[in-house]
Symmetry: C2
Subunit: 526 residues, 2 copies
């Protein structure tokens, strides 16, 4: 396993001392030494990316698809080597990482299919109308073209699906953009392995070597430099509210503004309606507890907030939830720092006025470090509405049940929420019709609204929307999961009165790619 | 004609002294007194807009279409009253304003058709796969929903097509967003008339009154307040580089980031290739001169830069261009301030080292004020490349011919350009094939690339892209002209496992709206 920075598909020999990867469960260093990239490395990466873009932006769509599939294949072939390194570095269970590997290769193949099919470029054709009065109409044809080099930040909580070859990278490559990855320090060796897989795919499919660079950094200098680099045309980041806002501020210092996609915190409210609680309090408690504890609560869709109206059924739900939380074994968190933060934040909330502990799991594995303890608290709606601290994300296996006095107070709770990635309603058939205002307000605040399911488990598909109003993300108009994530990295160009043989294939008169094109409000393949 | 601020479709009585509209051709005040809105007026407008949004976001698409058509009808019916007031206030000729009125009503009707047809919401449906292994897939359905209240700034150079009921307002209403307009001081009475037309359309179609407010301001306070208001969900602005950047900086002070669409300056290069010059130097000169002088050069697509390789044919072109410029009569500019700026800027450029005057029109109407004088200069590529001042927009009937020594220097010129709204190439059949790098670089820098046409005269259609890389706009991913302008004001929402009867009509199983929906990579109406 090579531990050097990768600049335009080539390993670069390091200078200066290195730093190790840490196993959060043991607190000990893992094999290998990593080296922070220099600003020169980062500059070379961006310049190489810009050069590669000149070729890659026009590359045949089938080569692009083959490249994406080759990355998926190479990652699959890493098999247990990758899974085990990721498990050691992240503390995540092997089963979860196997699932995440499937998601990662699956989304690479999904983008390959999208690119191969070709209609995603949204070609729109307005043919010339030479006889129109008072003025003739020119022939205008428009399609989406890639923006240029994209900087991707690895995400702590998805070592595979949101990092080196995760959704951001896959969608940028699909769009036609080179990628420069800033590795997350929580999974250094995993990133090196996946970086190696991308190198092999580049070699096998013959795409430009400048398409990919991989940079390590023990601090924040390289990330900041990349965000401000003039050749950077977009940035994708998934992480904390603090980190995301720091990136936004860095980007605001640029002379040329670029799109920066920052996915931050979300508390993903679940609204439990009375009839649902009456009919299935136990089942709902099991569902919620499992979703809260999944992956040690380290999902951006973790349900950190449960909203309900007080009732005997809610008491039953609360008891069942407490029992389930108490049966939740501790789990290794991603890094010692994340574990410390979780402990501090969850305890700070629990010490706030009016907040009561419902349950805390006693099942702590004392053999391992960085252990999360599942915690569940409750609070009245009045207190919740008056204390903004309680609206903030606590990253880990924690959730807060907010108890409203009545329907009106439940609606007021929803109205007081910040923007969210997801919102969930648990309701019986026919029950929702009594809550039109609540549902309308909840929809305004989220990117995905779920009925009778849990928010964790984000499907990677065409209709997925993973992105909601601030502070969930900084731009609710885009998604970081699913095939439409590709639209973050493109812009439209219109060709006016261009000769047919000089037009991109997607816009030629006889539609040589056989794609859907929008002509006179009709999506047709003619 | 009522000259009061309009708050949520109601006129508000002013307090304090007023200010007049100025006829730039005479420098004299026109009939009527206008009053700056107060911050309270602006706050009431935004709060009313947010309330109206709750109803309008779900309104039947046919009512929305009827509303857009009613605005078009009401504007048409204003007829010469509107045209004459606009001519007095803007100095623009009646013929031009008649054309602009047609464009304005035409684009309102285009958006009505788009909304009525309905497929623009880009519905994507992934049906449930309950038997999928290892995990079942939920039913996920996604469509675009409106963002909320939009603040629109009137543009000096389009009193009708880009102001009170112009493209920004029409596309925001089409998206499902209320609009609060900050009137441009260059056409106060025109704005009052058009505002009245919108009020009538609101009344006739019964849409919520909070959908529309119209605010005057002698200074900049109201605009700044609106950009920072928490209920503002998007901003659209067309104007100067300085004004646009001021808005961007104001928006960066917001707690909740919102999309701000700023269209600024552009010099819209025309590249004249050698064979085209050889074969039709005279014709090209006439075309260019007409485009440069059109509307006193006050178009965002005004060709402020001509690029060519030195040759005898270029000399012929230059002579013909000089002759045409000398035959260009002066015209009234939009405001005395714009005229002063034009004089100062064009003269500053002409006094720069290495810049030579090609021609200046002697045809100055001394009876009228705010008169533009068409000017044309030339410079060598070397000087142009070394002086950034020459790359900046000079708003008015001015253009700069940059003469390259050879093909390589012409390509270097294109590579040195900033982002542009448009780029044009004049070339003979087959000539372009010799300039692949030039064309590729030019395309990277623009939103619309034109072959053998002029950039002025922006078609309002589905395939139009009016928006290019910075500093042409701050976000090249969107357009402010054409039907896809609607996508500036929407975001996607995904419904997961929602009951069919509770879904928006666009997502229901039996497709009651009969729209195109994307299912398994196919756009179908089933």
């Amino acid at each position: 396993m090579a531990y050097r920075n990768i600049i335009c598909s080539a390993f670069r020999d390091p200078s200066g001392p290195g730093f190790p990867a840490i196993n959060p469960a043991t607190g000990k260093a893992l094999a290998g030494e990593f080296h922070s990239a220099s600003l020169q490395d980062a500059d070379d990466a961006m310049k190489g990316a810009e050069q590669a873009f000149q070729e890659y932006k026009n590359i045949d769509k089938d080569i692009k698809a083959a490249f994406l599939r080759a990355i998926a294949d190479e990652i699959s072939w890493l098999g247990d080597t990758l899974i085990c390194r990721a498990a050691e570095e992240s503390g995540l269970p092997v089963g979860r990482l196997q699932g995440e590997m499937g998601r990662t290769t699956g989304q690479l193949r999904m983008f390959a299919n999208l690119v191969e099919e070709g209609s995603w470029v949204n070609a729109i054709i307005d043919v010339a109308l030479p006889d129109r009065k008072p003025l003739p109409r020119a022939d205008i044809r428009r399609m989406l073209v890639p923006l240029g080099p994209v900087v991707v930040f690895g995400a702590s909580n998805f070592p595979l699906a949101f990092s080196v070859a995760g959704g951001d990278t896959a969608s940028a490559f699909a769009a036609g953009c080179p990628v420069v990855v800033k590795v997350h320090p929580a999974h250094l060796g995993t990133s090196a392995l996946v970086g190696g897989a991308i190198l092999k795919a580049i070699e096998k499919t013959g795409v430009p070597t400048g398409l990919f660079s991989l940079l390590y950094d023990e601090g924040h200098d390289i990330g900041a430099y990349l965000v401000k680099h003039p050749k950077t045309k977009a940035v994708a980041f998934t992480g904390s509210f603090k980190g995301g806002n720091a990136l936004i501020q860095l980007a605001q210092q640029r002379v040329h503004p670029i799109p920066v996609f920052v996915e931050m915190g979300s508390i993903n409210p679940i609204v439990l309606l009375p009839e649902a609680l009456n009919n299935r309090a136990q089942v709902l408690a099991s569902q919620c507890a499992a979703s809260i504890a999944l992956g040690a609560g380290q999902f951006c869709t973790n349900p950190g907030l449960l909203l309900a109206i007080k009732s005997p059924a809610l008491d039953t739900f609360k008891e069942a939830l407490a029992a389930a939380i108490k049966e939740t074994p501790s789990a290794t968190m991603l890094t010692p720092g994340i574990c410390e933060n979780y402990g501090a934040l969850s305890k700070a909330v629990l010490s706030a006025n009016g907040v009561t502990l419902i349950a805390e799991s006693p099942l702590v594995n004392t053999e391992l470090k960085s252990q999360s303890v599942a915690r569940m608290a409750s609070v009245s709606a009045t207190v919740f509405l008056s204390n903004k601290q309680l609206h903030e994300e606590v990253f880990g296996p924690y959730s807060l049940l907010v108890v409203a006095e009545d329907h009106a107070e439940l609606t007021a709770l929803v109205a007081a929420l910040e923007g969210q990635l997801t919102a969930t309603v648990m309701a019986e058939k026919g029950e929702l019709q009594a809550y039109p205002e609540l549902i309308s307000t909840l929809t305004d605040k989220t990117g995905r609204i779920i009925l009778n399911g849990v928010p964790t488990g984000v499907e990677v598909s065409a209709a997925m929307q993973h992105g909601g109003p601030y502070p969930a993300t900084n731009d609710s108009r885009f998604t970081s999961v699913g095939s439409t994530a590709v639209y973050r990295f493109v812009r439209p160009v219109a060709w006016q009165d261009w000769d047919d043989d000089l037009l991109p294939d997607a816009l030629k008169a006889n539609n040589p790619l056989g794609i859907f094109r929008l002509i006179d409000l009709n999506w047709i393949k003619q």
